[in-house]
Each structure stands twice: as structure tokens, then as C-alpha cells.
Amino acid sequence: MTFALTATIATPSLVLVGAADILDRLVELVLDDVWGTVLDVLAAVTGIEMLGFPFMQRAYLAAVCIAVIGPLVGSFLVHREMAMIGDTLAHSAFAGVAAGLFVNAVFAVTVPPLLTALLVAALAALVVQTLVDYAGAYRDTSLAIVLTGSFAIGSVLVTATDGGIAVGINAYLFGSLATVSRANAAILGLLSVVVTLGVTVAYRPLVYVTFDEVGARAAGLDVTRYNQLLAVLTAVVVVGAMQIMGVILVAAMLVIPVAAATGVRGFKRSVAAAVGAGLVATVAGVTLSYVYDVAAGGTIVLVAIAVYAGVKLVAGAAE
């Protein structure tokens, strides 16, 4: 009896330790054994030194993740004329980061700011979707209210303490390569898997709703539910990409690669092309940002815009 009791008490914590252990090993396997080794070899072969630095290896991994999930979700947003929802949710994520840092400063606990950002952004996503459903044509106004309201909450929280968290908030506002810690890279990797799975499973209804919302409803699809799913996936992308891109620029990866790929024939192929454009932008952007020691987010966005402009120029010349 006593034995059985001990066993039941011990089991949950053992399972927890076991799960954390497995997660650690998984991160090690992906980050060090696979990704690290590939880039080490690449560094040795090409003689490009920075590919061998662990913090750059993490930055490139983050770049690849962002290049995949941004356009993947953004393709649905752009063609529903909801490009601004990314920007709105980024600002709610900022409020979430501020709330996390605030809680940590005031209550002397350690809550990861990315976690609070994810919670607040996901909540804001559902609020925005509800407002859009009710407001109809005036969804711009709803988005503007949530965007500025979130930023207002963030700025109030940042200044409500004695100023200690104002320093930490800068990294989230403008993004940086240095913020991609092992833990953050692991979180981004996990979020990317979640987003990719989410879009893969719901691909068909999302395409239908994006192409013809009324038709999708007539065909019996639960349009509201898929809209909510898309909004929450957007929140996840925004929070994942925020560390490198920064709150203010993160929406760019949802929009610019997709805009660059609109000339491709076929929606599925346009999504693939947008991911390609995103990869060019993020990998080149991270590299240039390291070489010239300038902000990663800004560099990525500028490269993305250059890709967009180049594609449009070539397409214009071809016609």
C-alpha cells in the first residue's frame, strides 16, 4: 500500500523529468548534431567562417524557420486582404512581452516573455477575428484599435516599473541576432512545426475560405472556425519571428514574399515560391546583417523588398 502510494506520487514528476530530458536531447540532436554539423561542414568547405559560429548557426536556423512559416500563413492573409492583421498581432505580442517582463520584475518570478507574448497574441487574434466578423467592412478600424490599444498597454507596463525592463524591451522592438538563445531557437523550431502541421492539415478549407468565403459557407465549411485558426496561426508566426525581426517589422515576412510570388500560376506553387523568396530574404538578410553589423530585421525586410521589386521588374519587362 505504501509502496503503491509512493509510486503514484513519483510517476508524474518522473514523467515530467523524462519529457524534459527527451526535449533536451531532441534540441541537441536538431540544433547541434544535424544543423550544426551541416553548417560546420559548409563552413569548412566554403571557408566562410561565420557559418561555424554557434550563434550564427542558430540565427540561420531561425531565418529558415521564419522564411517557411511567414509566407505559409501570409499567403492566406494577403489574398484575404488581411495583411494588416500580422502587424496588429505583433503589437499585441509586444504587450505580451511587456506583461511578461513586468510580471518578472514585480513578482520576482521567471516567466519567459515569449510565452506571455504567445498567450496575449493568441487572445488578441481571437478578439480581432470576432471584431472583424461583427464590424464587416470596417475591419481596418477594428485592427487599428487593437493595434494601438496593445501598444499602449505595452508602453504603460514598460514605464510602470523603475525602468529596468525598458532595456530588455528594445531587443523585442527591433529584433536582433543575439536574442536567439538556444531556448529561443528551440521554441521557434517547435512553433514552426506547429504552424506547418496546422496549415498542412487545414490546407483545403483554408484555401476554399480564402478563394470564396461565401461559397465555402454554402459548401458547409465552418468558416468562423477556420478564420480563428488562421488568426491564431498568425499570432504564433508573429511571436516566433519577433525575436529576429522585431515587433515593428515582423509583419513584413507575412506579406512581402507573398506579394513577390503573386505572379506565379497556381496557388500551391505561389506558396512554394513565396517560401523561396522568404529564404532568399532571410538568409541574405542575416548574412548582410552580420557582415555590416546592422539590424537583422531591417536588413531582411530590405532584401525582401529588393526581391519583390526585382520580380515585378522582370515580370513587367516580360509582358
Binding site: 478563394f211 458547409g220 503573386t262 496557388f267
Partner: protein, 245 residues
């Protein structure tokens, strides 16, 4: 058997009534033309009939179930307003759009041979098999109409609901489009059509419902042109240009 059975259907936007006490039945195989002046509630009524909106009062059954909880999505092919004129930037191809007809019964997983055949047959049936790889947004209005019809055929829909489908379509394509609707109707598909051109409707439809918030007339086209329903509904003198082919 009745495909749609509506009883005392009433709907308002806020305190503005749009549809009042409308009762009508659409039998299997019917070709119903829904006419009425601008703002008469035609689109709203169509949306109520196929379960896109909830009624304020009354009842609508669609394929024998309450319309708004209908799970027979793939039995309804809906061609929304303005598809011919909307300038879609989305790079969806014709084939991708028609494949959507198979989505409700196939939300995840691979397409089977039957799915692919249904898509090919639908493309061929409406005469756009050669446009499969073109972008929907770059087609003419008339071709775009056919894409939406093909999507309904790929879904093996029993009911086609069309909201002013030929707005922005040239006269020749329009004739061809109505001929196609006629053929599909002959093959057993029930058609409910909103059309502003009363001459066209009275030529093609097997029955007419004339609406201006309330139902002014429901019956065959021959009787419709002989009654005052049209003048009453439009609140003034109206003449009908009857198209003969």
C-alpha cells in the same frame, strides 16, 4: 420531393425588414427565377434558403433538414454575386478552383481516382477543359462563371443557387451560359437563379418568384407575364421584353 420548403420566412437587418412572410416550395428538378427590384431582398432570401443566414422567424428546410444546420454542403453549388467582375489577384488556377468542389467530402488526405475524374468531367462538361492551367482571375467574366458551375458539378451538387450570375458578361457568353443552365436542369439539377433581366428569366425558368420584401407571385412564367404582380412589386408600370429564341 421538395428541395427547399420555406414557410413564413422573415428576416430584418436591425429594425429594417428585408424579407417578410415568404412561403415557397422548390421542387426537385425545378428552374426557379427569383426576380424583384433592387433592394427587394432577393439575395437575402436566397441566402436564407440555402442556410447562409439564420431566419428571424419562420422555417426553411433544405433537403429535408433545417437549412441553417444543413450538413449537405456538397449538395449545394453556390455561384456568388460579382464573380464575373471581381478582379481576383489570388493565383488560383481553374483546376484548383474546380477541385474545391471535392473538398467538403475530402478535407484531408489524397484525392482518389473518382475525385480526379469528377474534376475532369466537370471541366469538360462546361467546356473549359483547355483552361485548366489558367488563372481564374485572368479569365473573362463568362469563363469565370463556368468555373463556378464546374466547381458545383465536381461537388455533384443537386441544387445550383446563382446570384445574378451574368452581370458583367457579354451577350453571347450569356446566351451560352443560359443554354448550359438549361441543359443541366434537364439532366435533373434544381436551379434557383436571381436575375435582374426579367425577359431572360421568363424565357428560361420553369417558374418565377417575384419578390419585393413580400412574395408577390410564385408560379409559371406564362401566368406571371399576364398578371399585375410585376407592376405591384416594382410599384409602377413595367413592361417585359420577352426574348424568343
Amino acid at each position: 420531393m421538395a428541395v427547399i420548403d420555406a414557410t413564413d420566412v422573415t428576416f430584418s437587418y436591425g429594425d429594417r425588414p428585408v424579407v417578410e412572410d415568404v412561403s415557397l416550395t422548390v421542387d426537385e428538378g425545378a428552374f426557379l427565377g427569383l426576380v424583384g427590384p433592387n433592394g427587394s431582398g432577393k439575395t437575402t432570401l436566397l441566402e436564407l434558403l440555402i442556410g447562409l443566414r439564420r431566419l428571424d422567424s419562420g422555417s426553411v428546410t433544405l433537403f429535408g433538414h433545417p437549412a441553417h444546420e444543413s450538413r449537405d454542403g456538397d449538395r449545394i453549388g453556390f455561384v456568388p454575386q460579382d464573380v464575373a467582375t471581381a478582379n481576383g489577384q489570388m493565383p488560383t488556377t481553374v483546376r484548383e478552383a474546380v477541385r474545391m468542389g471535392r473538398y467538403p467530402r475530402n478535407l484531408v488526405g489524397r484525392f482518389t481516382g473518382a475525385d480526379r475524374r469528377a474534376v475532369d468531367d466537370a471541366l469538360a462538361r462546361v467546356g473549359i477543359a483547355d483552361l485548366g492551367d489558367r488563372r481564374v482571375g485572368r479569365l473573362s467574366g463568362g469563363q469565370r462563371q463556368r468555373v463556378f458551375i464546374a466547381r458545383a458539378l465536381a461537388a455533384e451538387a443537386d441544387l445550383l443557387a446563382l446570384d445574378e450570375p451574368t452581370v458583367g458578361v457579354d451577350a453571347e457568353s450569356r446566351e451560352g451560359f443560359y443554354d448550359l443552365l438549361h441543359e443541366l436542369n434537364d439532366e435533373g439539377i434544381t436551379v434557383v437563379l436571381i436575375e435582374h433581366d426579367i425577359g431572360v428569366v421568363t424565357t428560361h425558368a420553369s417558374e418565377i418568384a417575384c419578390l419585393n420584401r413580400e412574395l408577390f407571385f410564385h408560379g409559371d412564367p406564362e401566368t406571371f407575364v399576364e398578371t399585375d404582380a410585376l407592376a405591384e412589386a416594382y410599384g409602377g408600370a413595367q413592361s417585359i421584353v420577352h426574348h424568343e429564341h
